[in-house]
């Protein structure tokens, strides 16, 4: 296998990390919605934590995406 196609495959594999980020972000917001539906008064308290969780979950997926970009464009 030549280097160019190996790079393409590697970048594609690195993007699998986005599966986890998708599940994580979905979890964060489903938990936010169900908790606010149960207790609407708590919205102000839980929303900052939800966005913190969103940012942390999103970042893990972006690690994979950054690796994919590095494979494609740097090496």
């Amino acid at each position: 296998m030549d280097l160019a196609s190996a790079k393409m495959i590697g970048a594609g594999l690195a993007c699998i990390a986005l599966v986890g980020a998708g599940i994580g972000i979905g979890n964060v917001f489903s938990a936010l919605i169900s908790s606010v539906a149960r207790n609407p008064a708590a919205q102000g308290q839980v929303q900052p934590f939800a966005f913190l969780g969103f940012a942390l979950a999103e970042a893990t997926g972006l690690f994979g995406l950054a690796i994919a970009f590095l494979i494609l464009f740097v090496f």
């Binding site: 940012a55 970042a59 972006l62 995406l65 950054a66 464009f73």
Partner: protein, 243 residues
């Protein structure tokens, strides 16, 4: 005909004023220029905004007050008692990262926080500072941070290395989180812009995606500054209160 695209070209460092001291290259680069602009803008907002000290604040003054109160609230809820003395540090970090991220969103400008050396320097300052604060405050007792309370002794053999690892990995995750967000976001914008430029009339579709992505990136820019500041608060809280 495909147009050649270089999505990572936007992160190129250029020497604006070459300065060499001996063999050390301390040139004034486009990255340094943007950092200077960030510092000038933040200083201008706070100095000019609070100059009048009106009882009923105008636009600039309320902006300055809002940013002050936002960070002060963050410290009060996350660090609690004894956190206010670290307010200047957290506020500076937050405003610097926020303005750097936002200035990076302007087309053809430069994103300072997309360089890992910048984010790692910030994260290393936080990590070293927090560790020194913890050691000065608690001395040898600081090591209790790595020993969870109320855990049976055999489990400690497993838990203490994990706690140690998760402590020493902090500067890296803190740095890579901000850097990867900025790098991936801006590269994605450039890639979709490249699609739009290369496929002619159909390019309106990637163009539309790009517009939505800009909205997402503005959100991410603010959110990552917030996350960096709040994690600094949590680490400070760990060092001050030892869990």
């Amino acid at each position: 005909m495909a147009i050649e695209i270089h999505p990572l070209g936007q992160f190129q460092i250029e020497r604006l004023i070459p300065i060499h001291i001996g063999r050390l290259d301390v040139s004034y680069t486009n990255s340094a220029l943007l950092m200077t602009i960030v510092v000038v803008l933040v200083t201008a907002l706070l100095v000019l905004g609070t100059r009048k000290r009106a009882l009923v604040p105008g636009r600039w003054q309320s902006l300055a007050e809002m940013s002050y109160e936002f960070v002060a609230d963050m410290i009060d809820t996350n660090v609690g008692h004894g956190g206010r003395e670290f307010f200047p540090f957290v506020f500076t970090l937050f405003m610097f990262i926020l303005f750097a991220n936002f200035l990076g969103m302007i087309p053809y400008s430069y994103t300072v926080t997309s360089q890992i050396v910048v984010t790692f320097a910030l994260a290393a300052v936080v990590f070293i500072g927090v560790t020194i604060i913890g050691i000065v405050r608690h001395g040898f007792h600081f090591l209790r941070l790595f020993v969870p309370q109320g855990v049976p002794a055999p489990l400690l053999l497993l838990l203490v290395p994990i706690e140690l690892l998760s402590y020493f990995i902090r500067p890296f995750t803190l740095a890579i989180r901000l850097f990867a967000n900025m790098l991936a976001g801006h590269t994605m914008l450039a890639i979709f812009a490249g699609f739009a430029a290369s496929i002619g009339l159909l390019g309106i579709l990637p163009m539309g995606i790009d517009i939505l992505l800009v909205a997402l990136e503005v959100l991410v820019a603010a959110l990552q500054a917030y996350v960096f500041a709040i994690l600094t608060c949590l680490y400070l809280s760990d060092a001050i209160h030892l869990h």
